[in-house]
């Protein structure tokens, strides 16, 4: 384990046992997050981003199962705990979940309880982890709601989620996640359902709170623009594995994995001159159901070589300091560009 990291994940594997076979949603993922830093995790739907997050929180439900790997977490009391070995219903993980590692979800309205007021559901967390005094808890909640920029917190405290807009619900959820000052925040597509102007507000908010509380953030999204704004380092996921891992600038300026390269070319941007065709990626993301021993991107890769890419899974190789790539073709030569 890297001593500087607050969260260190090694060889994480989460499989879903289905009638059709074993779905390897997360298949050997490694990463570290130092305090105050943001790791961006990008990938298309179905590549295992969210399951990685749920695995860390130990909230993967059957038929899903965390089958291998270590999740070393530096606790606030100085202990180093391997979350992967904990009982998912035990006291230790319940003390950590929500308090030391918090999570915000994609659909703010769907993730809040529709039958409890904003105040009630936020108080629950505070009463569980911070204080038993209801009046004090209410003060903490109101203070936090004000901090995340919710207009008129006292009024919204007694309202239900359906009375609030999407952006306001997302702020409430962020406030809820942050009331216990977690050392790690997992943000799973926190702005995908929101408009760009609200998204900008939420990104600014997470960043300022990160400065204030020193949280490490795992920021999961499929929006490359957001990643460029928020992340210090980026892990590109494809089919349950990290295929490229580097500092943000490197990923955008010198991507080496064919998937990352194609992905960057596939998005229309505001700065590139308009017109012409977008370079798309042929086909669809396959389902990792009993995946063959081959590079996950083999079926869609333009550079794939038979007899090499479809015979075994390429390892994640550090091709230059801090830049890891999972591709047979990259270390060999400069042919990939």
């Amino acid at each position: 384990m890297d001593n500087a990291s607050i969260l260190s994940v090694r060889n994480l594997r989460t499989y879903f046992t289905l009638d059709e076979g074993t779905l390897k949603a997360v298949d050997g993922v490694d990463f570290d997050i130092p305090p105050r830093k943001t790791l961006g995790m990008i990938g298309e739907s179905g590549c295992g981003k969210s399951v990685t997050a749920y695995s860390i929180m130990r909230t993967v439900l059957p038929p899903g199962k965390l089958v291998a790997g270590t999740i070393d977490f530096q606790r606030a009391n100085g202990e180093l705990t391997d979350l992967a070995t904990l009982d998912p219903f035990g006291a230790t993980i319940r003390a950590i979940r929500g308090k030391e590692i918090a999570m915000i979800f994609q659909e703010p309205i769907a993730s809040l309880s529709p039958v409890h007021t904003i105040g009630e559901q936020m108080m629950e967390m505070v009463l569980l982890h911070r204080t038993k005094n209801k009046r004090e808890a209410k003060e903490i909640v109101l203070d936090m709601l004000a901090k995340v920029g919710l207009p008129n917190p006292t009024q919204h405290f007694g309202e239900y989620p359906h009375q609030l807009s999407g952006g306001m619900c997302q702020r409430c959820m962020i406030a809820q996640a942050l009331t216990c000052h977690p050392s790690v925040l997992i943000a799973d597509e926190p702005t995908t359902a929101l408009d760009v102007t609200v998204q900008a507000q939420i990104i600014e908010l997470i960043r300022s709170l990160q400065d204030e509380f020193g949280m490490a953030v795992l920021y999961i999204t499929h929006d490359l623009g957001v990643i460029a704004e928020v992340a210090d380092a980026v892990a590109v996921m494809y089919l349950g594995r990290i295929v490229e891992y580097a500092a943000t600038r490197t990923i955008f300026k010198r991507p080496l994995h064919p998937y990352t390269q194609r992905l960057l070319k596939a998005i229309p941007t505001l700065t590139t001159p308009a017109g012409g065709r977008l370079e798309n990626i042929k086909g669809n993301v396959p389902v990792p159901l009993d995946p063959p021993a081959a590079c996950g991107f083999y079926s869609r890769c333009l550079l794939a070589q038979d007899g090499l890419c479809n015979t075994s899974v390429p390892p994640l190789v550090e091709v230059e300091p801090g830049h890891k790539v999972r591709c047979f073709l990259v270390p060999a030569g400069e042919g990939v560009s």
């Binding site: 298309e44 739907s45 207009p151 807009s165 999407g166 952006g167 306001m168 408009d195 760009v196 102007t197 609200v198 998204q199 900008a200 507000q201 990104i203 600014e204 499929h222 929006d223 490359l224 623009g225 957001v226 990643i227 460029a228 704004e229 943000t248 600038r249 955008f252 300026k253 194609r262 992905l263 960057l264 596939a266 998005i267 229309p268 941007t269 505001l270 700065t271 590139t272 001159p273 308009a274 017109g275 012409g276 065709r277 977008l278 370079e279 798309n280 990626i281 669809n284 993301v285």
Partner: protein, 344 residues
């Protein structure tokens, strides 16, 4: 895309279009107010042109798109459609039969390819339905046309008898596009056609729509909240805020040289996929105004950092500030707004 679309001929002309939804209260459904979802919108779409329509959720984009072809009945205004052959059509005055004929020329493509296709119908049935309803083809000819349409949008013909669940999101959107093309329309209103798709699939569909526009000489009203997508596909772009258009210009011009503070803020809010471009962002405060109870004067003034006393009382006029560049802002002439450097 270059901005050299043929500007000579107009396909669609929308004048002062309004759609108000009544707010009803109580058992007797007394009307207590109006939601001005579309409030006095005017624009034209030229032949073989893509007009992009952007705005935040709730700004009335979808309602506008549907009001144009009377998928929902507009409250007031005029919509003229000039087909390639035949007399101009005044869409608002059409009776039921006339409307059905008009709908051959103007079709919708929907946002969510998972809910806009009937799960109990095969691709053949879905794509052939408009042909049968409009009594255009039967029997072998019908199948032949469906095959042709499937080829056109890049679907495998042998999958004709499969149901929508057997297809991925991108393929389903292709089915929706094939259905829209079945009647040889001249205008397609595409309502967030790629928003529900993954980025690698988005590119496929955007390319397809552009190819189809060129090959079939189509015009598009392309509705999206994604500014990067809009910029990529549109010749001209209109920006909507609380039911009104606040700016409209050729795409390159609008992005490089916005003249409305809202457009400026929208552009600065879009995250750029380039870590070197972390530019100073203008964060808009507050929420989009409610179309049921809009602010006085300029609807944008409570969130505008350039607002003056006049903006609170007077609503700004729609003016042509530069050739083909329209804006509704009192201070459009004096403000120096920041756009996006093109080609950087």
């Amino acid at each position: 895309m270059s901005n050299s679309g043929p500007q000579s001929s107009i396909l669609l002309e929308v004048e002062h279009l309004k759609k108000y939804f009544p707010i009803e209260k109580g058992l007797l459904k007394t009307v207590v107010g109006q939601i001005k979802a579309v409030d006095d919108v005017s624009f034209v779409i030229h032949r073989n042109e893509t007009l992009g329509l952007v705005g935040e959720s709730g700004s009335g984009k979808t309602t506008l798109g549907r009001s144009i072809i009377r998928a929902i009945e507009p409250t007031a205004g005029k919509v003229m459609f000039y087909p390639k052959d035949g007399a101009p059509i005044d869409v608002r005055t059409l009776d039921k039969r006339g409307l059905k004929v008009f709908w051959r020329s103007a079709q919708l493509v929907f946002q969510n390819p998972y809910s806009s296709l009937d799960p109990r119908k095969t691709v053949l049935q879905i794509v052939s339905e408009p042909l049968i309803l409009h009594n255009i083809a039967h029997g072998d000819e019908l199948v032949a046309r469906v095959k042709h349409l499937m080829n056109l949008v890049g679907l495998e013909v042998q999958h004709m008898n499969r149901y929508p669940h057997a297809f991925s999101g991108g393929q389903r959107q292709r089915i929706g596009i094939a259905r829209a093309l079945a009647l040889n329309p001249e205008l397609i209103i595409a309502d967030e056609p790629v928003s529900a798709l993954d980025v690698s699939i988005q590119a496929q569909i955007l390319n397809l729509l552009q190819d189809l526009r060129r090959e079939l000489n189509l015009s598009f009203l392309f509705i999206s909240h994604g500014l990067n997508v809009i910029k990529h596909v549109s010749h001209r772009v209109a920006v909507m805020y609380v039911g009104q258009l606040i700016e409209m210009a050729p795409a390159g011009e609008l992005f490089a040289n916005p003249r409305h503070p809202y457009t400026e803020a929208l552009l600065s809010a879009v995250p750029k996929p380039d870590p070197d471009l972390r530019m100073q962002r203008i964060t808009l405060q507050g929420e989009v105004a409610s179309p049921a109870n809009p602010p006085s004067g300029c609807y944008f003034h409570p969130r505008c950092r350039y607002a003056q006393a006049r903006c609170q009382s007077e609503s700004p006029a729609w003016q042509e500030i530069a050739p083909a560049h329209f804006v509704a802002c009192h201070r459009a002439h004096e403000l120096e707004l920041l756009g996006i450097p093109v080609g950087g």
